[in-house]
Symmetry: C2
Subunit: 416 residues, 2 copies
């Protein structure tokens, strides 16, 4: 009999009605002749509510207690989903992460899975139970509850699918799958049928957070194929998988948009070892997440270092950097908010030339100024004014033929 692992996210179980909807889907899947393991997230909003409570009693709650607190969200949703399955005629049993055999390291709040021994899951499946597992959590060898980081239920599902050697892994969420671009910005955006793990990782880090990045890394490492699809309809989703030769024919898989960015430039930085370290260690100490970092070639012994952060952190970062700029003898600090990042992603870039040129031309013709550029093997990201973002997205989407993927390949020249 086929074994299927399904993961239902917080929006999928946000209300009792939705929990019953999920329960019906789980039962249907079993009736189609599958053994089912369902991984459940906390009801939407619950985790944030718990974090708010924690902050109200403690400015810096210990990670151990925070893990115990947050794990209750998944415990509750899992018990409720199990009740719903049983009420609707199924036979289900709930397991905590610990009972499901998810053993982690002792790194509270962002624990890594060390090992999975799904003995109890196998037992329950062999007794024809539908097994409902609390996502996002595991247990240390000492029996302490740990959590796997925000979005960790994706990791629970993919890791369980790997450990159970499941035939199918489905990540149910509130969108139909992974799109060529944000459909709110680009009406012509299309759902992708498939995407390579690396592309999904780049899309995720560039703002299209459909699946937790660590979960995708795990899937890549252990070759776990999974499908991202919607809880709210029956349409097929997007399959994330190892890249295949045919996938390289598509140069650009999609475009990610990341709003509310701020750009900081420290001008006239002496080109000496240790200077960049001094700048960014101060930023890191304040827990400000730095995205792009760009350093230009040195001219006359000095260079300019630019980087981007979330707009909300700009004031904080300015306060931290003003004295540092003096200390390192740099000329000045320029900052600008109201920025956005547009990233084009595709493993086809590895074997096709001219993608960057094509992108720059396209934006240039539209009079959109590019302020920073950063590239990886399969991504080109540009920082532009946020007010230009939607127009840039629509043009790029059109130019790279994403609304009609078959046409996209022919627009580009393969590398020799």
């Amino acid at each position: 009999m086929r074994l299927i692992v399904q993961k239902y996210g917080g929006t999928s179980v946000a209300t009792p009605e939705r929990i019953c909807n999920v329960a019906r889907r789980i039962i249907e899947t079993q009736r189609e002749g599958c053994r089912v393991v369902a991984v459940i997230s906390a009801m939407a909003g619950v985790t944030d509510e718990l974090i708010k409570l924690a902050r109200a009693v403690s400015p810096h709650p210990t990670d151990r207690e925070l893990d115990i607190l947050l794990a209750t969200g998944e415990h509750a949703a899992t018990a409720l989903t199990t009740m719903a399955v049983n009420a609707l005629g199924g036979t289900a049993i709930s397991l905590t992460g610990a009972q499901a055999g998810i053993l982690t390291d002792r790194n509270h709040s962002k624990a890594r899975i060390a090992n999975i021994s799904p003995k109890q899951i196998h037992e329950m499946l062999s007794e024809d139970y539908i097994v409902i597992v609390a996502g996002f959590q595991g247990q240390t060898p000492e029996g302490e509850t740990t959590t796997l980081g925000r979005g960790g239920s994706d990791l629970t599902a993919i890791a369980l699918a790997g450990a159970l050697n499941a035939d199918v892994c489905q990540i149910f969420t509130d969108v139909d799958g992974v799109f060529t671009c944000d459909p709110r910005a680009v009406l012509a955006a299309k759902k992708l049928d498939e995407i390579a793990y690396d592309e999904l990782l780049e899309m995720a880090s560039a703002g299209s957070k459909v699946v937790q990045s660590r979960a995708v890394e795990f899937a890549k490492k252990f070759g776990v194929e999974f499908e991202v699809r919607s809880t709210f309809n029956r349409r097929a989703g997007t399959i994330a998988k190892e890249e295949t030769t045919s996938m390289e024919d598509v140069v650009i898989r999609g475009i990610s948009l990341d709003r509310h960015q701020a750009k900081l430039t420290i001008a006239g930085v002496r080109d000496e070892p240790g200077i960049a370290g001094r700048i960014f260690s101060n930023i890191a100490a304040a827990h400000i997440i730095v995205d792009m970092i760009v350093q230009n070639a040195s001219i006359g012994g000095t260079t300019d270092i630019s980087f981007t952060i979330h707009e909300d952190e700009l004031e904080n970062a300015r306060k931290i950097l003003m004295p540092v700029v003096g200390e390192i003898g740099a000329k000045r600090l320029n900052t600008a908010s109201g920025m956005a990042k547009l990233s084009v992603v595709g493993i086809g870039m590895r074997s096709h030339s001219g993608v960057a040129a094509h992108l720059f031309e396209c934006l240039g013709k539209a009079g959109i100024n590019i302020q920073l550029v950063s590239t990886s093997e399969i991504k080109i990201a540009v920082i532009i004014d946020e007010k230009d973002l939607e127009r840039a997205a629509q043009l790029t989407h059109q130019e790279f033929g994403l609304a009609n993927p078959a046409a996209a390949a022919s627009a580009m020249q393969p590398l020799a």
Copy 2:
């Protein structure tokens, strides 16, 4: 060093502010030179909210899943209290019921404690931790979460105090202690300094639910003295303990009031074996809780059976009993709502005569009609019209000298 077990109820941890207040008290207790184990209930309202969610997904949720769901309320409050203690300069660690070593039978939703092995508590205490334990829950030998019934955190605290051989056990709640009568009904009601376990049990079953009855039974069985006191002030509370000879000098310890009662009388019931069983098995099957049952002496082969239930169940009970009355050949069913129960409780009754007569006279003089009477060794309960309840309570409280307990004994004659 003295070991103290404290229990904080749901109202004591209802908000982040109150959790911080509890944390401060816990830290103070430690600084006074005690080792502290604190048992925490779910934040007020959380358990009801979770039950509502369960009912929304399932008409009859399985007890196993309900236990997992409800235990999350205590997990969360315990983690939050631990964070608060740590934030306020203490050093605390939280333990689940399972980690605290509370082993129960497999009777989900009303499990009985089978054994307590507080190894981890001892370890943590010896490392100078304040140990914060999730109330209301335990674990079966198979590692399944169980709960101890509504109000079960009292039982957790008293059982832990017994197992740890604690010097003091304090039950913190939202009232100052156990009163001679409900202060909302009788202004002159006084807080008792001490009360015998049996008296507290009778008061609890008669409507004054300050401490869970099972917890009091446990305390009685294992001789665990405990104090009921308020989280919101520093006043000493009421000590529950074994009865002492001096306690018998007080004939009536207190008066319990129970409102919203309904009285049902089945008249002309044949005085034959099995008839009462047929009546009450039907009522029990509908989960209607019957309080008092009174059966008069048989006259001419028939008798009348009266009993009381909560007013809200009256319609339901009528529907169930109407056909039964016919089947058993009884004459008729009379029902009345708007009733109340007044109970006078005191172990002194065992050695003093005339309490019933005194009570009846007192009510009679005031023109208050007694509709049913039921007695135990240390309690006399009467059913009266609810509209007369407060007047009856005030008169009885006065007549038995409860506002001035020293005078009460002399009002009654000791038995020879």
